[in-house]
Structures are given as C-alpha cells and as structure tokens.
Assembly symmetry: C7
Homo-oligomer: 104 residues x 7
Amino acid sequence: MSAANKIKNIVPLLDRVLIQRVKAQEKTASGIFIPEKAQEAMNEGVVVAVGKGALNKDGKHIPLQLASGDRVILPPFGGSNVKVSGEDYLLFRDSEILAKVVEN
Amino acid sequence: MSAANKIKNIVPLLDRVLIQRVKAQEKTASGIFIPEKAQEAMNEGVVVAVGKGALNKDGKHIPLQLASGDRVILPPFGGSNVKVSGEDYLLFRDSEILAKVVEN
Amino acid sequence: MSAANKIKNIVPLLDRVLIQRVKAQEKTASGIFIPEKAQEAMNEGVVVAVGKGALNKDGKHIPLQLASGDRVILPPFGGSNVKVSGEDYLLFRDSEILAKVVEN
Amino acid sequence: MSAANKIKNIVPLLDRVLIQRVKAQEKTASGIFIPEKAQEAMNEGVVVAVGKGALNKDGKHIPLQLASGDRVILPPFGGSNVKVSGEDYLLFRDSEILAKVVEN
Amino acid sequence: MSAANKIKNIVPLLDRVLIQRVKAQEKTASGIFIPEKAQEAMNEGVVVAVGKGALNKDGKHIPLQLASGDRVILPPFGGSNVKVSGEDYLLFRDSEILAKVVEN
Amino acid sequence: MSAANKIKNIVPLLDRVLIQRVKAQEKTASGIFIPEKAQEAMNEGVVVAVGKGALNKDGKHIPLQLASGDRVILPPFGGSNVKVSGEDYLLFRDSEILAKVVEN
Amino acid sequence: MSAANKIKNIVPLLDRVLIQRVKAQEKTASGIFIPEKAQEAMNEGVVVAVGKGALNKDGKHIPLQLASGDRVILPPFGGSNVKVSGEDYLLFRDSEILAKVVEN
C-alpha cells in the first residue's frame, strides 16, 4: 500500500518518535457494534519510526528508549499531528511517552 | 483476572510510576453505607509498576524512591490518567509523589 | 490516639516536610471566646515529619534545615493539603518554609 | 527569475533555516480542480537556506541537521513569516523541524 | 515589650530577611497632621532579622548582603506578609531588596 | 545632518544592536505611488550600531554576528522602540535577528 | 539641596542601577512652550548610583557596565519606581539598560 510505503520515508528528527494512534474498538468481542459515544477514548499508539536521538554536549546522539513497533501509552496532551497520504500520525518526543505495553 | 494480568504488562518509562488510586470508603467500620457526598476525597494510592529511572549525564538510570506495592500520598493535581481494561490508573513522575505511608 | 499513631507512619519523600497548621486562638488570654471572624489567620505550623532530603548529583540526600517538632512560619500560598484520619496536614518543600520560631 | 535570485541572498542566522511551504494540491491526480476548502492544510516544506549553526561554549558553530533542498514536516505552530519579492517564506530553528521526508 | 521579644525569636530560613515596613509620616516636620490620602506610600523598611544564607553546591551558606538594622528600599511587589504579636512584617529574599539607605 | 550625528553617539549595551527599519516602498519601479494600504509591511532593517557583546563566564565579550551596515530580516515581534532626534530606531539582541540579506 | 544629598545615600544592591528619567522638553529651542500632549515620551535617563555587581560563583562582584553620570536609553517596560524626598527614581538591573548615549 502506498500509505505504508510513504510512512517509511518519514524520518523523525532528533529525539522525536512518529506514532499512529490505536483506533477505538468499533465492535464488542462478540461482534456487536459499539456506538461512537460509547467507544473508549484510546490513549494507546504504535511507534512507526524513531529519530536518531537528541545531541549531547559532545555532539553524539543519545539513544532513544523506544523502537519502531513498540506499543505505547500516550500522554493526554501534546504531540504534533501530521497527515501522510490521508492517514493521521503524531510526533512526540521520546521522553513524553508515558509507558510501554509489553505483551507476554 | 485479566485486568490484573494486563496491568503487569504496562512498563512506565524513565522515572514514571503507575498508580491505582485507593477507592473512597463506602461503609463505616461498623458496616453502615456512607452516602457518596460524605465519602472523603482520597489522595492515597498504591504503586502498581515503576520505571527504570531517568537517565543521568552518563546515560545511567537514576534509581526511583518508590517500588511496586508502596502505599503513597498523591499530589492534588497532576499525573496522567490511563485506562487499562476498564480500570483507571495514574502515571506520575517519581518525584511528584508527596509521601509514603508506612504500616507498622 | 490512633490519629497520632497514623501520622507517624507518613514519611515525606525527598525534601518535603509534613506540617500541621497551628489552630487560631479561640479564646483570649483571660478566657473570653473570640468570634471566628476576629480570629487571626494563622500562618504558623509545627513540623510533624521530614523527608531524607533531595538528591544531589552524586545521589546523596541533601540534609533538611527543619526537623520534626520545629515551629515554623508558613508561606501564604503553596503546599499540598493531605487528610490523615480526619485531621488536615500540609506538605511543603523544606525550602518553601519562610522562618523558624525559636522559643527562648 | 529574480525571486529565486533574491532568496539565494538571504542567509539565516545561527541555527535558523529558511523554508518554503509546499503549496496545497489544487487538482486531483486526474486533473480535477479541488475546491479551496477541500484542500488539505499542508505541513510540508522545502529547506531553501540554512544558517551556520548556533554557537557552543567554545564559540564554534554546531552543525545543523538539515541542508538546503531537504523536504521537511513543519510543526503546526511557530516560525516567523518573511516575504521576499512577494513570495512567503518561514524561518524556523533547526531543532523545531519535526521530521525529514526521504524519497526512495 | 513582648512584641519586640517575640520578633527576636523569628529566624528567617536560608536567604530570607525579615523586614518591618517604615510607617508613612503622619505629620509634617512642623507638626501638622497629613491626611491619610496625602501620605506617601512608603517603600522603605528596616531589616529585623536575617537568615544564614542559601546553600551553595558544597552545602555551605552564602553570606547575605544585608544585616539586622539595615534600612532598605523594598520592591513594589513580592514578599510574604507575616503577623507576629499583632505587628505586620515582611519576609523577602535577600536578593529581592533593591537598595540600602546609608545615613552619613 | 544632526540626526545622523546623534545616532553615532548611541552605543548599544552588551549583545544589543540598533536597527533602523527599511521604509515601505511608496512608488512602483515605474514611479507610480502605491497607496499606503497596499504597501508591504517591511520586516527588513539596517544595522546602525552594535554592542561589544554579552559577557562570558570569564568576563570577556562574545563577538556579535552582525556589524554596522548589515541589512537584516527582523522578527515580527520583540525589540524596543527608541526615538532619537525624531527618528524611530529599534534595539534587538543580536541573536533575535532572523537573517542577513547579502547583495551579490 | 537636601534631595541631592539624600540620593547620594541610596546604595543599589548587587547589579542594580539607580536612574533618574530625563524630563520631557517643555519648550522648543526658540523658547516656545510645547503643550504636554506634544512632548515626546522620554526613554532617556541618567545613572545616579550603581551597585557593586552581582556575585559570581566564587562570591566576587561582577563589575557593572554603567557608572554614575552615564546617560542611558531605558527599556519601555520594567524597573521599580522609588520616591526619594519627593523625587521619582527608577531601579533597573544593569543588563536591562538598552544603550548608552555618548556625547562627542
């Protein structure tokens, strides 16, 4: 898909991470549609791309905590919206991300 | 319970701690129900998970003061609400927590 | 008293101090009751518990100026209210306390 | 063209980059005109000129991440508008630019 | 007088200074009373007590510029009001005081 | 002219630069007067005088990027207006100036 | 004059300078009175007294740029008004003063 291809071309700068918000569930487990108002506001996302890290005093990149593919908890405010090929993404600084969701 | 299992999978980043607010008492010691308005607003919580700590200049994690299981006094403002499997949690920075409640 | 016992269990974190505001005088020296409006707003308190101190660069606690039992002058704003066993307390940072009252 | 010539003469100072916003698409791929309201607000731009970099403690310029010709994602707020020969440009600090768009 | 005794017992913390505002002149030099509206708002005060000084990196007190007894020019805003034995005092940080008035 | 002489006497302090805004063009190239509303708001200026530079830790002046005579792009906000002999000037900090206009 | 004597007794603290604003011209060069509305708002002043300078890390005073007697350009905002013997003065920090006026 061209949207998927295009997103691979976006390289966040410094300590920024590109995130796609996880969409709210539109059906229950048993397949019943949930009306839009009853859908939980989702504060989860998936990291799509990460920067090289901010620069330290010696001009070296400080490695990020997050990597592409990580599922994360997003802060309720902040981040910049960007639209790529009609899809909405968010750019956050690595340190603004609240938590990582680890599947066992 | 799946909520308990899921919460174990949330890993706070840097110096953040995941906290579940202690619910207001709904009955008196002798078992009489307290009407909702008379319930004291609770500013106590239990630490559910902690991050590895913020990074110092040398890129090492600064250990947190709090550990999972600690009962704490929360500040009246601040923190980010997160909802996991329908339960409400709060993410604070370790240094924002006001005090620890120690049972003798 | 259980309130006194419970308060001993609250351990302020870092450079915080737990303070109980001195109550406004309800009677004159000669025993006459002062109507509530005429009672002076009290900005004095007693330190009930202190933290170990904020951490310096080397990860050591910087000792506090105040100790449990000190009578202090509180700033007009700031501090966090906490309620323990129905009693009101305040948590301040050590450096926010304006002055100490020394009895000769 | 004289506008192109003139823009070459603008030298951003310190860590600033001169950017020309990519214009919203006025036609679909098949050549149909898109009414102005339906045009997507574009947050992409092209770097036209860059400064030598901010100065570090030793008075040396810290090199910029961006170079002339880079296609970039702009933050939704910030930057200063400048008009050169009737064309609109933006001046941002290098570190304010969110991401680079890399064509494969 | 007991107010004077009590004020000696107030020890400002860190770099704070305890100041008593100079009262506006109520009479002219020749003894005529000045109506309250015509009295100049006074921004002068006398230092009543000083702290040991803020702590430097090595944990030592940085000496204050002001000493008890100094007559000073107060900034138009800032400072905390404290009432001791019915008298009003102000607590400022040493560096907030604008100037010293030296009598020749 | 006395205005020109007087301006030579103004010495900006530290890292400040004294700037005279370039006046909006009142005629087209072919000599037709442009009504005031149609005149472009000019964000260009000429540096009239510069300070010695801010002081570094060792008490030495950090040299400025700009020199007297430089044509510059001014930020849309900021700067202090000063009036000398009826002429309007602006004082900016050297680092606030966005770009330099270089004539080839 | 006693006002002049009194002002000599005001010693600005740290990096503060005491300034008397230059009064707006009330007559033209040829002696005609200028109505108050037409008088230019003056942003010039004369330095009346200077502090010893702010303290550096080693506890030494950083010398000021300005000296008593300097004629200066004042910023449009800031400074604290003080009234001494009925005369209005301003206290600024040395680094807030925009420029010095040098008479040839």
